[in-house]
């Protein structure tokens, strides 16, 4: 009997006991002997030059070790591209403490290093700085005349530009039987993982560093540190086993990493630098975005014309782009299209991918315009989606590798009770509350990129698998253990997955919903290679019954290789390693997606969200009382952790539609609500019934696991479903997020 496959089982997180007992250590929790603490000083102007930094008073405090500024920092890499990283947009990456120039409000300008955290913080507060200020612009609304197309760069491999226009949009739109259009605005959002960005750098001597960092990419940070500080990569080890949330914030090395490493190298001491919550607003963010849509349909509801244009924000030094306008034609097969994405460079820091970047922005505009179109046509919004259902990706003129979105619509509607909806706005009530039902579609591309993994069979017959990948709370440890166990026919107890360490085989940054696909494929490849190697070793043993037998002729189960023909013929992994003079059997494998095969297909996860809102008629307060999201994302490796990913995405959708926004005072070019009391995210009392459905979806193209990734897809459909439900409840179409009570009064 073979072991029950663990893939598809709702396995509880393997690190659960560590997390509930407080023994899981995050990057700021390695209390090394003689540890020094760094605190960063940030600029209080938006643009200009530092004319002086007076550190004398702070330096005089007993216990203050050093204060680094642009004037006394060590010499660093001079070539700006050495500050680049795996997620760097085209342009010139920001270089902390590089010179006296100030490019944005909150730019790090000094690091105080002291014996204690409290002292470093106090000393930082008495560093005085004078500036020569220049005029600045931080408001996208008033700078649309400066909009331009983004620069091309390698980032476009994962973030393609908008599809080229098709047909004749204007003619088709103007002659269409029904038209819907909208202007949308999303404010700035900050990732705000609950853990503060922290780096603890351990100075090992001989130029070697061990760095505990909060990151989504250990290798990414290793390369960055090596390049910037001129160290051999092998002398830089970045460890990040537990990451207290990231949501994209850890895709690029953040400045506390730079500061901590710089101080450790200069002082030859162990140094920790922790940002405070307000400093968590001083680097990347989801950019404010303006969008315009115009959709036209014939009288039967077929969408014939799609126009979607967006203006994103970026810095003056990098062209950060998002895929905002590419989705409409991936969903709806119109033949006349016009898509445009421009950016407005401002005196701000570069934006940074934040959970479902671009998708959660663009899909709101698309799906709220579709909702509007449904009302114009007097067709049920769900029915309108079904009328325009396409099995192919018309934008790329190729089929989907799989697409069970129809099942998402049908199963989601059934579970939600969509049939009970009275289509008339303001027609449903519960006491003094207006009740609204809304739905929307979600889509997120399924990407796979190359990665390596190592697999070892020990002399005890156990499987060790490793990858440099992090686990930012997505369940990577558990899921990779499942994949490895199934590949070798072992129980999960016989498998140890090691991760979160740049010394381990290469993994890319953890984002874009591509970790299962990418690292999972590498582990499968390593497992396959290991099986071949085990069989070869077995065949090479004296009196081996496995001579001249191919891997197809055996099965791997319970730590044995068993002949398919004669199950009484088997050899244990333990015996194979013993026959190998007790030396463990090991492989390291690189997995590269088959681009030629993949490019014949579009690959995407889909979802449908159904939402009920209650809106207080007098006070305008909105409550999402229940929601169902049905997801088609291929094979679900672990339904328990995957469900949590979708639930998390749904909560983010509620937050995006109704709560979170970083508000800028453009007179001062600074954020006004840089704390968790005023940057609102949902609390427990805001979250009610949430339901998740995974529909069956087989995909033999996307990767060998048939799994598409679920980190983003749970968020994509929720915000428009909420906005559409609010329209249904109130008759008011609010296209500016977050939707606040005042717009409903």
């Amino acid at each position: 009997m073979s072991n029950r496959p663990s893939i598809g089982q709702p396995i509880s997180r393997l690190e659960g006991p560590m997390k509930v007992t407080g023994s899981a250590k995050y990057s700021g929790e390695y209390n090394m002997p003689g540890l020094l603490h760094g605190y960063v000083v940030n600029s209080t102007i938006v643009r200009g030059e530092i004319t002086s930094i007076n550190t004398a008073e702070a330096r005089a405090l007993p216990g203050v070790i050093e204060i680094f500024t642009h004037e006394n920092r060590p010499s660093l890499a001079w070539f700006n591209m050495q500050y680049s990283d795996m997620d760097a947009p085209p342009g010139s990456p920001f270089r902390p403490l590089y010179d006296k120039e100030i490019k944005y409000y909150g730019q790090p300008i000094a690091l105080v290093v002291a014996e204690t955290f409290e002292l470093a913080r106090y000393a930082a507060s008495i560093v005085s700085v004078t500036y020569e200020e220049e005029t600045f612009s931080t408001d996208i609304h008033t700078n649309l005349d400066k909009a331009r197309a983004p620069k091309a760069g390698i980032a476009m491999a994962l973030k393609p530009p908008p599809p080229k226009p098709k047909g004749d949009f204007d003619a088709a739109y103007n002659s269409s039987a029904a038209q819907a259009s909208g202007e949308f605005f999303h404010g700035t959002e900050h990732h705000n993982p609950l853990e503060l960005f922290t780096t603890t750098t351990v100075y090992e001597g001989d130029g070697k560093l061990t760095i505990y960092d909060k990151t989504q990419g250990t290798v990414n940070c290793q390369l960055y540190v090596g390049n910037v500080f001129g160290l051999h990569f092998k002398d830089v080890r970045v460890i990040s086993p537990y990451v207290g949330g990231a949501f994209g914030a850890g895709l690029r090395p953040q400045y506390q990493l730079f500061m901590s490493v710089m101080a450790a190298l200069e002082l030859k001491r162990n140094v920790r630098v922790t940002l405070d919550r307000s400093q968590m607003f001083s680097f990347g963010y989801r950019p404010p975005t303006i969008q315009k849509t115009r959709f036209g349909a014939d009288s039967d509801g077929h969408v014939t014309a799609l126009n979607h244009e967006a203006f994103g924000q970026t810095s003056h030094f990098e062209d950060y782009t998002e895929v905002v306008v590419n989705w409409a034609n991936m969903l709806y097969p119109a033949q006349n299209t016009l898509f445009k994405y421009d950016m407005v460079p401002l005196d701000v820091f570069s934006p940074l991918d934040m959970r479902a970047p671009g998708g959660s922005t663009g899909i709101h505009a698309i799906e709220s315009t579709m909702d509007d179109l449904a009302y114009k046509l007097k067709i049920d919004p769900l029915q309108l989606r079904l009328i325009n259902y396409s099995v192919d990706d018309v934008s790329m003129d190729r089929p989907y590798s799989s697409k069970e979105l129809r099942q998402c619509y049908l199963q989601g509607a059934e579970k939600f009770g969509w049939d009970n909806r009275n289509p008339e706005p303001r027609s449903m009530r519960k006491g003094n509350k207006l009740v609204g039902y809304g739905m929307a579609t979600g889509i997120w591309e399924s990407m796979t990129i190359p990665a390596r993994a190592e697999a070892i069979i020990t002399k005890e017959g156990k499987l060790l698998v490793s990858s440099a990948v992090t686990d930012i709370g997505t369940g990577t440890l558990t899921v990779m253990t499942q994949i490895a166990a199934d590949e070798l026919g072992l129980t999960m107890d016989d498998v140890t997955f090691s991760y979160g360490d740049s010394k381990m085989p290469f993994a890319p940054i953890q984002g874009g919903s591509f970790t299962v696909s990418t690292v999972g494929s590498a582990i499968k490849a390593a497992g396959k290679a290991l099986k071949k190697k085990l069989l070869k070793k077995a065949a090479g043993m004296s009196h081996s019954p496995f001579k001249n037998i191919e891997v197809e002729d055996v099965i791997f189960e319970n730590g044995n290789i068993v002949s398919k023909q004669d199950p009484s013929v088997f050899i244990s992994f333990v015996d194979i390693v013993a026959g190998n003079k007790g030396k463990e059997i090991k492989t390291i494998n690189f997995s590269v997606p088959n681009v030629l095969k993949l490019k014949k297909y579009s690959r995407a996860a889909h979802s449908a969200a159904f939402v009920e809102v209650e809106v207080d008629e007098e006070l305008g307060i909105v409550n999402v009382t229940r929601a169902v999201t049905a997801v088609a994302a291929g094979k679900i490796i672990n339904p328990k952790t995957a469900r949590s990913q979708i639930l998390g995405g749904m909560v983010w959708g509620i937050s995006k539609a109704l709560r979170e926004e970083t508000i800028t005072d453009h007179n001062f070019g600074k954020y006004m609500n840089t704390n968790l009391g005023e940057y609102h995210i949902p609390v427990h009392a805001d979250i009610h019934e949430l339901d998740v459905i995974f529909v069956d979806e087989k995909d033999e193209i996307v990767n060998e696991l048939g799994s598409k990734g679920v980190g983003e897809i749970g968020l994509c459909a929720m915000p428009p479903a909420i906005a559409n439900a609010i329209f249904h409840a109130t008759g008011k179409r609010i296209n500016q997020f977050p939707i606040h009570f005042d717009s409903l009064l």
Partner: protein
């Protein structure tokens, strides 16, 4: 941002004043800790930096996120909003002291079973807060529990699973 403080502090003529190091005796998880620290050290930093009990988390340092929740004489408190020197004589319980003799507390088990966390960073605070909340005995419904747990933020969006876990233990009545 903190430089507003910097502007105010610039008015100081000198910065000669510095708090001295004092002995602080704390009882944490039933054990005595003799710490040497300055009186401006919060209980949170005392736990994390001086007692090496890093299970208690710092998410904001301003009493806004709940990640630093510990039990103080059985009551849930925000350890970032109290100074260590103020807690001499108190019985502090942190997440490290919740499991007894290697046996997980029912809430800890329920959190694992319900997948009531993702990144795990808010988890110690959620668990300590839930124990304190159940001890308060003010919650009679799921809605009450949600309201009374709303001082503990979860950015991963595990909210429904967290409340499911707490409700299971509350209804089981085995939370001590």
């Amino acid at each position: 941002m903190k430089n507003e403080i910097a502007v105010l502090e610039q008015k100081h003529e000198t910065a000669a004043w510095m708090p001295g190091v004092t002995d602080v005796n704390l009882r944490i998880n039933g054990e005595a800790y003799e710490l040497k620290l300055q009186p401006w050290v919060s209980l949170l930093d005392a736990l994390r930096e001086y007692a090496d009990l890093t299970g208690t988390k710092k998410g904001c340092d301003h009493g806004q996120c709940g990640a630093c929740t510990v039990l103080c004489n059985g009551d849930r408190i925000l350890s970032c909003l109290t100074l260590a020197v103020m807690q001499e004589g108190s019985e502090i319980t942190t997440i490290e002291g919740i499991a007894k003799d290697g046996e997980l507390h029912p809430l800890q088990k329920a959190f694992i079973e319900h997948d009531a966390f993702q990144c795990g960073y808010c988890t110690p605070g959620q668990i300590c807060s839930a124990i304190g909340m159940l001890n308060e005995n003010k919650a009679s419904s799921r809605a009450d529990v949600k309201e009374l747990m709303s001082g503990n933020l979860c950015r991963c969006g595990a909210n429904t699973n967290i409340i499911d876990a707490i409700m299971e233990v509350k209804e089981g009545g085995n939370h001590e």
